[in-house]
């Protein structure tokens, strides 16, 4: 029973760093494997949309030089690694001279807001509902609701978004079609702005929520049913403890451990699910940013946003791994 040990912690941190290195290397390779030169594509596309640009070859060469795209690929990779670890993402190719950091700075709060609220709701309500559904004393009429929680789990969040947009925005007009807040309110810590943000974020949150909450409910329900038959729960019942007390202190507490792991792992899925949802609602978050960057072959933005996603997911998993032995003393990763 050693709990968290240095050896275990260093091992997990090593895996964490290796995961990040492999991931960012893959992103570098994949973004450059797409056919075409991003600068040439951008200017040729501009020329096709806006008419002939005289001296376009000169401009293309200038920007390639400026962005270091004329350097050998190995040098580009080493510079990319060095810049990435220092969070120096450079400037956007397409939105030059805007820095990638400022683009992320604008987008990240919206995505974090959306993602954290969704994750919290899914975790709290999903596990709460799952526990209720799995508890043997829950009235049967409530248990019959279980299948309805699964309606949206098998469809992508993008379809759920289109469905909700169609019903609640286009047909009923209850929610706005696009955006993050009403332009008539002043940005800041005031109620009209907060209410506007909640209203504009409601459908995007709901789109992600409906698709993801079912799995949390099912997982929690299964854990509660399993743990409900464990010896220590039977012993508690034999001791005459109140059933709800047993649910709260014995069943749910133990059932939450695997849910915590899935919470960390689901963060990556939640964020990737957000990419298309944000683009459908024109929500100005990281999803929109990466969606557009991929279309525009904006290497620096693709690399930076993907790095942020990887970092968030990998760090969450690392934290859970490190916290596990502390949450559950039965779990040991050290030497006996």
């Amino acid at each position: 029973m050693n709990g968290l040990t240095w050896k275990y912690a260093l091992h997990r941190i090593g895996i964490y760093l290796l995961t990040i290195l492999i991931s960012i290397t893959l992103i570098f390779v994949i973004s450059r494997a797409v056919p075409g030169d991003p600068i040439e594509n951008m200017w040729r596309q501009l020329e096709m949309q806006k008419g002939q640009i005289e001296g376009v070859d000169l401009i293309i060469d200038h920007y390639k030089e400026l962005f270091g795209l004329n350097e050998p690929i190995g040098i580009q990779y080493l510079k990319y690694l060095w810049n990435t670890v220092r969070f120096e993402f450079g400037v956007s190719f397409v939105h030059y001279p805007t820095s990638v950091s400022s683009m992320i700075g604008h987008a990240l709060p919206w995505t974090l807001g959306l993602g954290l609220i969704t994750t919290l709701i899914i975790f709290i309500f999903g596990n709460g509902i799952g526990a209720v559904f799995g508890w043997e004393r829950t009235p049967k009429f409530i248990k019959t609701i279980i299948p309805s929680s699964l309606i949206f789990t098998s469809i992508p969040s993008v379809l759920a978004a289109l469905f909700l947009l169609s019903i609640f925005s286009k047909n009923l007009g209850w929610f706005p079609l696009a955006g993050a807040y009403n332009s008539n309110v002043t940005q800041g810590w005031n109620w009209p702005y907060i209410a506007s943000v909640i209203k504009y974020g409601f459908l995007p949150v709901l789109s992600i929520l409906l698709v993801n909450i079912g799995w949390t409910i099912l997982g929690m329900r299964a854990m509660v049913v399993t743990i409900g038959g464990a010896d220590y729960v039977r012993l508690a019942q034999a001791k005459g403890l109140k059933p709800f007390y047993i649910l709260k202190k014995y069943t749910v507490r133990n059932a939450l451990l695997p849910q915590l792991t899935s919470l960390a792992l689901s963060l990556g899925g939640l964020i990737s699910g957000q990419v298309l949802v944000e683009s459908i609602f024109s929500y100005p978050g990281m999803g929109m940013l990466i969606f557009r960057a991929i279309r525009e072959q904006d290497f620096n933005v693709i690399q930076a946003t993907s790095y942020m996603f990887i970092l968030i997911t990998a760090t969450s998993v690392l934290l859970i791994d490190l916290l596990y032995p502390l949450i559950d003393p039965r779990i040991t990763h050290g030497e006996d």
Binding site: M48, Q52, I53, G55, L58, I59, K170, A180, S183
Partner: protein
């Protein structure tokens, strides 16, 4: 047991309350705007009768006083109002509400209409141009707009090439102030298109906008670093009849400047809209819903299906035409690009056969559902191009609207190809194939590609449409690999001349030091003769009647070699809403093109009238 059930019931009740609270804000954003602004309107209305929102308070203008435009491009840095950066905010109001051009090309007449400039005249050799500015023009901060600003801006371009673009420096040797309203440009070479290409709105906007010297002079050495935004100082400062009010992540709001120079100078009255908003709705479905709900007054290019759905749901929505094709054309006709260096398609007889096999009317009917017209040449069919297109028709050089499949087959067979058992032509064991590249992001090119491939299969060419991302599509045509690996055909487009054919033709003529022309890699005797004609055109002023026979001569070489096959005019279908605003440009009232993302939107804004 009872207590536990109560707890569960309470838990469920709490969840329901939470859901109700979240959904309690059940009005649309525009409803909110209307509610808030109509409140203002009511209050103001009591004091000012029907004069509407008071000057200085246009931020709260009513829906009836506001025009909502579709911001179809999503931008990233909303606080950078520098018009020269790559991701500039020109299409969300910067060039429609704030920046006025020196001159504006009229697509119908081909004339270059004056705006901030009164005239621009060249010497006989087109290498010295004199610009006369309109008197009385002022920047929005009250400073005079004059020759100093023009000279400063040109010198800034010359010192910051290619950051600010390359065209000014390519053509301008030096610039001189003659007096406050006159500027002389000394060119590096003769250029009859200097006024049109460098200093006028032609297709999208005047890239080389004049900026106020008294604000930009601090940034003359590093203009790309200047954000041109400081609300406390009233920046951005331009000459347009609107001022930037504010912006959010998806809205750009401008209010009318009642002190606009144009009124005092006798140029034009103030435009009627007191507030302009470019708003981003994302998907086409969301935009259509906003149009139907009268939350949007003008939408960017849309599909025919979406347009018909909109007009069915809201009879106030109109297009350029009142019946099919509903829209007008954009300046970039579509054509089938053919690789003239491909081992098979280097045979001009086969390219001639493809030209005969293409049924352009069928492409219009199937791919566009009637939403455009067949091309008779590679030029856009604007009124200003009429003299060239008519001359080509008179010379028998215009493309046929229908196919002649028998003649096409005869041509293929004359090159030694024989139909095989599968119904495709074959020669020396090789089947006659054509893979037609289309653009994934462009439904239009994909649909054209499918129809053309079907038409080619019908005459015995094993053709297929291949969808690629724009980058891959471009790369496939640009890269000089082995001829066998190179592309065979591609649905392409050329955005060149609007009122004269030189720029379009030069696309296929190549530059001065090239040995083949365009993506098509056209070369040979016909191409050399074509280039000679294009060189002649280069030295003629746009619209010069002497250019017409030269264009015919050039086109004879195109028809002789058929390096590409013209297909259709590009469709531009922009839904416009007459619920709050009327006098939009239409075919019956064609004062400008109906595109609200380009700089000619100034004309639309000046012409709009409130519906009530």
């Amino acid at each position: 047991m009872q207590k536990q059930k109560r707890t569960i019931t309470c838990l469920i009740a709490l969840m329901m309350i939470f859901a109700i609270v979240l959904s309690s804000c059940n009005t649309s954003p525009t409803d909110e705007v209307v509610e808030e602004t109509s409140g203002t309107s009511d209050t103001v209305g009591e004091e000012t009768a029907d004069t509407g929102t008071q000057p200085g308070n246009y931020e709260n203008a009513t829906r009836e006083e506001t025009v909502y435009f579709d911001a179809y491009v999503a931008h990233v840095d909303h606080a950078n109002w520098n018009p020269f950066i790559t991701d500039n905010l020109r299409d969300v109001g910067l060039q429609q509400a704030l920046i006025e051009p020196l001159f504006m090309l009229n697509y119908d007449t081909g004339e270059i209409d004056p705006w901030l400039g009164l005239s621009m005249e060249a010497n006989d050799t087109f290498d010295v141009w004199t610009l006369n500015l309109r008197p009385g023009v002022k920047w929005s901060d009250g400073e005079d707009f004059n020759a100093d600003d023009v000279v400063f801006t040109v010198n800034m371009f010359l010192a910051n090439t290619p950051d600010l673009g390359a065209d000014v420096a390519l053509w301008t040797e030096s610039v001189e102030k003659i007096n406050d309203l006159t500027v002389q440009f000394n060119l590096t070479d003769s250029n009859p298109r200097y006024q049109l290409d460098i200093w006028s709105f032609k297709i999208w906007g005047d890239r080389n906008s004049i900026v106020p010297e008294h604000i930009w002079n601090e940034y003359a050495d590093n203009p790309m670093e200047f954000t041109n935004y400081d609300p406390e100082q009233g920046w951005p400062v331009f000459t347009g009849p609107y001022l930037l009010s504010k912006f959010t992540e998806n809205e750009y709001i401008y209010v009318r400047n009642d002190n606009w120079w144009g009124v005092e100078a006798g140029f034009q009255d103030l435009p009627a809209p007191k507030r302009l908003i470019w708003i981003q709705y994302g998907t086409e479905e969301s935009k259509a819903a906003a149009m139907i709900a009268n939350d949007l007054d003008a939408m960017a290019n849309t599909s025919l299906g979406a347009f018909e759905a909109m007009t069915a749901a809201n009879s106030n929505i109109i297009g350029w035409e009142s019946e099919l094709p509903y829209g007008t054309i954009d300046p970039c006709p579509r054509y089938l690009s053919i690789n003239n260096e491909h081992p098979i398609w280097s045979d001009s007889t086969l390219r001639q056969a493809v030209n005969l096999a293409v049924d352009r009317e069928q492409i219009v009917t199937i791919a566009y559902e009637g939403g455009t017209s067949a091309s008779i040449s590679i030029f856009p069919q604007y009124g200003s191009m009429e003299q060239y297109n008519s001359a080509l028709e008179d010379a028998g050089l215009a493309a046929s609207k229908t196919a002649d499949t028998e003649a096409a087959k005869a041509l293929i067979e004359s090159s030694g190809w024989v139909l095989n058992a599968d119904g495709y032509y074959e020669k020396d064991g090789q089947v006659l194939t054509m893979s037609i590249l289309t653009i994934e992001e462009s439904m239009e090119t994909r649909r054209i590609g499918d129809v053309v491939a079907e038409q080619l299969r019908n005459i015995g060419i094993d053709a297929e449409s291949q969808v690629l991302s724009f980058g891959a599509w471009l790369t496939a045509q640009s890269e000089d690999g082995t001829p066998e690996d190179d592309y065979e055909g591609a649905v392409s487009f050329v955005c060149g001349g609007v009122n004269e054919p030189y720029v379009t033709l030069n696309t296929f003529g190549g530059g001065e030091d090239v040995t083949k022309g365009g993506m098509e890699r056209w070369s040979g005797e016909s191409w050399e003769a074509f280039r000679a004609s294009v060189a002649q055109l280069k030295n003629l002023a746009p619209g010069d009647a002497a250019g017409v026979p030269v264009v015919v001569e050039a086109y004879e070489n195109i028809i002789e070699d058929m390096p590409f096959v013209t297909l259709t005019q590009a469709s531009m279908l922009t839904p416009l809403n007459t619920t709050y605003w009327t006098n939009w440009p239409t075919s019956e009232n064609p004062y400008t093109i109906p595109s609200t993302w380009v700089q000619s939107t100034h004309l639309i804004i000046h012409n709009l009238q409130p519906a009530n």
